[in-house]
């Protein structure tokens, strides 16, 4: 028997609300199957099971908010002697090559067309997606969340008022309700970032990279592609990070319990800002196996799901390094804060035309400022410097990306 517990979907999570079970007792499950959907302070996440077995019992009712670690289900495993499921990266199974999670068609972001005078409807991203899927008008849904916010459970209740499990969800038993979901998101970010600044001795390195070759190559490439297949400039940057990590692998991994654990696979967390405020950094899984087209497709899928619901638990827990790109905002330099227990964060600013010397000649070039924030317990500035050097070098040979 194995106990399936509420996973910690990041160092900032204390509790989650079960939205729905995707399995019932007696169902056979395989490692990485999605068995439940849990709403956290940041997003609704599809929760994967970590071993093969048969669902013995579901112990938590949809609508309940339970603390991380609470037993939610019993899974009868084939090898009943195995230790219970664990979710911390420290005790996760080796990141051996795992099959990429099955792709699903990216859902259309739901369109909320309230009359101009109507107040904005407060609803979680997952609730919006669910409402769009089931044809529920959010204006008719009574929100039971903080400040009347509509949660997925409210949408389900409205969508199917006759099914027994659609009884009004009891209010979350946890302490003070958040004043609204935005405040909850802020608290989650605050907890992770405060822990980072408390525990991680950061060092910061910065370099300027001539992006002319990569941008010229990308412009020519995109010109001959249909618009649906165009590649965003951040994608070659992500690819260059992956290749540079191949040269300096110790930046890819964790610092846990006083020791440095270098990860084999590169699960690249990408910071995505959310329209309702706040951010989320799900991982592009096994980024080391992907070239530009696949990275672009995965990034599109990841951003779409981050903003409309449907991220998977492995995407929330497995990131081995984080990349943040603030160039869209006109920011030149990012001084990033590492997401614990990772040991590095790569920041990209806006690409700006600047004077640049090469071979004794001054010209104007599109210049990218790239930064590395790294954990000095795990690596030293010398290795960090080699990483940024490799990054810049890779971006001079875009056709090899």
């Amino acid at each position: 028997m194995a106990e399936f517990r509420m996973p910690s979907l990041g160092s900032d999570m204390e509790a989650g609300t079960l939205i729905e079970w995707r399995v019932k007792p007696g169902d056979r499950v395989q490692r990485r199957d999605v068995i439940a959907v849990v709403e956290t302070e940041k997003a609704a996440i599809e929760i994967e099971v970590y071993e093969d077995g048969i669902v013995e019992a579901l112990l938590v009712q949809p609508g309940r908010k339970v603390a991380v670690g609470t037993v939610m289900a019993i899974i009868r495993t084939e090898a009943a002697t195995e230790p219970p499921v664990a979710f911390e990266p420290s005790s996760r199974p080796e990141p051996v090559k795992k099959a990429a999670p099955e792709k699903k068609a990216a859902p259309e972001p739901p369109t909320i067309q309230a009359p101009p005078e109507a107040p904005r409807i407060k609803a979680s991203p997952y609730a919006r997606r669910l409402a769009a899927e089931r044809g529920v008008d959010l204006r008719r849904v009574e929100g039971t969340g903080p400040a009347g916010a509509i949660g997925a459970a409210d949408v389900q209740r409205t969508a199917s008022p006759t099914t027994p499990e659609a009884k009004p969800a009891p209010p979350p038993p946890a302490g003070k309700p958040a004043s609204d979901s935005r405040a909850a998101m802020r608290r989650a970010i605050a907890a992770a970032m405060a822990r980072s600044k408390r525990e991680i001795p950061h060092y910061y390195l910065q370099t300027r990279i001539d992006m002319r070759r990569t941008l010229d190559w990308l412009a020519a490439e995109n010109l001959r592609r249909p618009i649906q297949e165009r590649i965003l400039p951040v994608v070659p940057l992500i690819r260059a990070v992956v290749l540079a990590l191949g040269e300096v692998p110790e930046l890819n991994g964790f610092w846990i319990d006083g020791s440095h654990r270098i990860a084999e696979a590169i699960h690249l967390g990408f910071v995505i800002n959310l329209r309702q405020g706040g951010l989320i950094a799900p991982a592009l899984l096994n980024a080391e196996e992907k070239r530009l087209d696949e990275l672009m497709a995965d990034l599109r899928d990841l951003i779409t799901r981050a903003r409309s619901g449907g991220l998977r638990s492995s995407e929330m827990t497995d990131a081995t390094i984080t990349v943040t790109s603030l160039g869209d905002l006109g920011v030149e330099t990012v001084f990033g804060i590492i997401y614990p227990p990772q040991v590095a964060l790569v920041g990209f600013g806006k690409i700006i035309d600047q004077p640049w010397c090469e071979n004794g000649m001054i010209g104007v070039r599109p210049i990218l400022t790239a930064t590395l924030s790294a954990d000095h317990r795990a690596t030293d500035g010398h290795r960090g410097g080699l990483f940024l050097d490799a990054l810049g070098r890779r971006l001079q040979e875009p056709s090899k990306l």
Binding site: T111, I112, R120, R128, I227, L232, R275
Partner: protein, 81 residues
Amino acid sequence: MNSDDIRTVVFEILRRIAPESDPSALDPNENIRQALDIDSFDALNFFVRVNEQFGISVPESDYGGLNTVSEIVGYLSARLG
């Protein structure tokens, strides 16, 4: 398709990308990237939808001149005309 029809479709597309916004309340000369917080991913989605709705493929080299509702409607009118 006249300018009003084009504007209506452009607003529809913008509402899908920024569901919490009301594009019709924008000043036609306001920079929509800033006003609606459109990032490069949103911008690409916008042009993909423009392509679906109008059959017009906007080359990347034209992106820079398409920052306001009036610029976008004018551009599409010219291309459709």
